[in-house]
């Protein structure tokens, strides 16, 4: 049995009722104790639990009685009561005053992501095609890294960087072809005819 946040019916299956009755205690074990309350035949109905206190180690509740005004409210020891749901309701209210879920306190202490960002330079950390730029032309080539790389000049950027030839061949073949074409050289060798001429 527990005190949870939502009022639950007691586990023995007792019905949850809005009203509760007080009857004179029948199974009072403390036979030697004088029952403070008057032993009346009538039943009084508790309307609401208003407050709680502990007197001489015993818990008492301030009760509003149905059909009576607030002037007639009385403190009753809890062992005399048979209105668990009204008591639970009262306790629940006390709880939610201070406890229960609390929403976020506000901005996360300056840890948050920037709301605005200025762009200072072009994609500083990304390299090659990942920068999302358009190839303009290849200005050099090298294989010092182990595979053939082209030095790529990108449109709208001053920063050239290396891209794998394999990637460039697929993504911008015309640019690659231009590069090679620009660097075609022909080597001429003396032909048979020229030799004959020289001898003369």
């Amino acid at each position: 049995m527990s005190m949870s946040q939502t009022p639950e019916p007691s586990s023995d299956g007792a019905t949850v009722t809005e009203e509760a009755t007080i009857t004179t205690p029948e199974k009072e074990k403390k036979a030697d104790e004088v029952v403070e309350e008057e032993e009346e035949e009538e039943e009084y109905v508790v309307e609401k639990v208003l407050n709680r206190r502990v007197v001489k180690g015993k818990v008492e509740y301030l009760l509003k009685w149905k059909g009576f005004s607030n002037e007639d409210n009385t403190w009753e020891p809890e062992e005399n009561l048979d209105c668990p749901d009204l008591i639970a309701e009262y306790l629940q209210k006390q709880k939610s005053a201070n406890e229960g879920k609390r929403k976020a306190p506000g901005e996360a202490d300056g840890d948050e992501s920037k709301s605005k960002k200025k762009k200072e330079d072009q994609n500083e950390k990304l390299r090659g095609f990942a920068r999302g730029l358009e190839p303009e032309r290849i200005i050099g080539a090298t294989d010092s890294t182990g595979e053939l790389m082209f030095l790529m000049k990108w449109k709208h950027s001053d920063e050239a960087d290396l891209v794998p030839a394999k990637e460039a061949n697929v993504k911008c073949p015309q640019v690659v072809i231009s590069f090679y074409e620009e660097r075609l050289t022909w080597h001429s060798y003396p032909s048979e005819d020229e030799k004959k001429d020289d001898k003369n």
């Binding site: 074990k29 001489k56 180690g57 048979d82 605005k116 990942a130 920068r131």
Partner: protein, 517 residues
């Protein structure tokens, strides 16, 4: 000698042989820049009819002065307003470079120069991509200023043009538009909602594909997060539902920056009423968030933790989903994290879980959350301790008697007693409430005396007595009530608590469950 050897020998004597291509280029570029700078300085001085020798050294060689700025802006205005495309591009690029300066870019000066209308008109020139790009970049940086700057950009009609640019076939231009729109959205809920009304979200989402480069996705995720950001009001629910599926996709990628911004987006979306939290958890993203909370990178774990913290401030069902996803295995680690704000956020999340039903409180105990809780109560920084105190009080309020006993046995009571000497009245009140709740539990075991004794031994009675002199009336009253109820030496009877107490249907516990310290 063979031909090959001859060639080799000749090539080896070539000056650039064996040098790194990129480095050579760098050297060439920097030499060029030096020459250019020197030339520029010369022409400035010529313009001002100044002879080098007549100036003190500093002035002669520092081009970064205010009147130089206005010179530049004059040139820019002339170029941008001309009808020559080349001049316009030159002018716009010059403006962009000024606006990209590290320190104090001249945002206001550019706005005051009346250049924004032209920049905005450049955005729609599909036949001049360079101009579009420079204009978009310039506007991005102006919009990155304060609200006034962003307002200027919007007032000059940039928004529809930027949204159109999202569809540009040139990726770098589209990306620049994403960035600019992110800055506008980040200004606040007003512009955020205007962008949403202009249908920015479908246009943005259309840019996501398996081929989209990582850098682009980073910018896009950040912009989306700004569209999720801010409350009063929260973004429209329909917009949130449009964005969520893509956000979930992005959260499953591996790029750290994307993950960070996507987590921020979720943290914003979960920061609100329970129905907002509901929309988020229904996507099934909770396990992934718990995973990300476990990362070592602070910029990922921070927003993930914040998102989870928000979710457990929702309903018991929402909280249960996080528990089922393993949040209780990660929280102890975070309560011991070297960064105090992480500890604080973890303690706050814990306090909300402890505000749940006793079934969840039991899971807290089972998963070993009590020891780290006590540790932060003892050693945490004050903000963390405050959250931890809430956790204790919530625990004592919703916990069963046995659970409260476990709490006391873990050392939490001693720790909160030690915190009674803080200045913060609210914290004191929460602690007194926790102690009160503990007495309520003790009553059920008939052990209020034992608890009083224990508190006395721990130095608590002394502290509570002193609090009766506290300046805060509520503190004084609460301390007084506590003393009255449980520490009065007068008529203390042996209280036999009946196991047939009808009020609580309480079953008498076995002998073990006592407030043994």
């Amino acid at each position: 000698m063979s031909t090959r050897d001859v060639v080799k020998k000749r090539v080896s004597r070539f000056k650039n042989k064996g040098k790194d291509l990129a480095k050579l280029r760098e050297k060439r570029v920097s030499e060029c820049v030096e020459l250019r700078k020197a030339q520029k300085n010369e022409s400035f001085l010529k313009r001002r009819n100044i002879i080098l020798s007549s100036l003190p050294d500093e002035e002669a060689f520092s081009p970064e002065q205010n009147d130089t700025l206005s010179f530049r802006i004059e040139d820019i205005i002339r170029d941008v307003n001309s009808n020559d495309r080349e001049a316009q591009t030159r002018g716009c690029q010059a403006a962009r470079k000024l606006l990209s300066k590290g320190n104090d870019p001249p945002l206001k000066e550019i706005v005051d120069a009346g250049l924004l209308s032209q920049f905005v008109s450049f955005l729609s020139m599909d036949d001049e991509p360079t101009l579009q790009f420079e204009a978009a970049w310039a506007l991005t940086n102006i919009a990155s200023g304060n609200s006034w700057h962003t307002h200027q950009v919007v007032q000059h009609g940039a928004v529809p043009a930027l949204i159109n640019l999202l569809a540009s076939p040139m990726l770098h231009i589209s990306e620049q538009a994403v960035w600019a729109l992110g800055n506008i959205a980040g200004d606040g809920p007003g512009y955020r909602d205007i962008l949403i009304e202009c249908k920015v979200i479908p246009a943005l989402l259309a840019c996501i594909s398996p081929d989209t480069p990582v850098g682009y996705l980073r910018n896009l995720t950040w912009t989306l997060s700004n569209l999720c950001r801010n409350k009063m009001p929260c973004p429209p629910l329909s917009a949130v539902q449009q964005m969520l599926p893509s956000l979930i996709q992005l959260l499953h990628l591996s790029d750290k920056n994307i993950l960070s911004d996507a987590c921020w987006a979720i943290s914003y979306l979960s920061d609100g009423s329970n129905d907002r939290i509901d929309v988020v958890v229904k996507t099934g993203i909770v396990p992934r968030l718990v995973e990300l909370m476990n990362r070592k990178e602070l910029f990922i774990l921070t927003p993930a933790l914040r998102a989870i913290g928000n979710i457990v401030s929702g309903s018991d069902l929402h909280t249960q989903m996080t528990i089922d996803a393993g949040v209780l295995n990660v929280l102890p680690k975070l309560l011991r994290h070297p960064k105090p704000t992480v500890q604080k956020e973890a303690a706050w999340a814990l306090s909300n879980i402890a505000a749940g039903p006793c079934k969840q409180i039991q899971q807290l105990i089972t998963c070993g959350l009590l020891p780290p809780l006590v540790e932060v109560l003892r050693n945490g920084d004050f903000k963390t301790q405050k959250e931890a105190v809430w956790a204790v009080t919530n625990f004592t309020s919703g916990g069963t008697v046995e659970q409260v006993v476990s709490l006391v046995q873990s050392g939490a009571l001693e720790a909160i007693i030690n915190l009674l000497q803080v200045k913060d009245a609210k914290v004191i009140l929460i602690i007194l409430e926790a102690i009160n709740n503990m007495f309520i539990a003790a009553e059920k075991l008939g052990e209020t005396e034992k608890l009083s004794l224990l508190i006395e031994e721990l130095g608590g009675l002394e502290r509570i007595e002193m609090l009766q002199n506290h300046e805060n009336g509520i503190v004084y009253q609460a301390a007084h009530d506590l003393i009255e109820k449980y520490f009065n030496d007068g008529d203390v009877e042996e209280v036999q608590v009946d196991s047939t107490q009808t009020g609580f249907e309480f079953k008498a516990p076995d002998v073990q469950k006592k407030f043994e310290f």
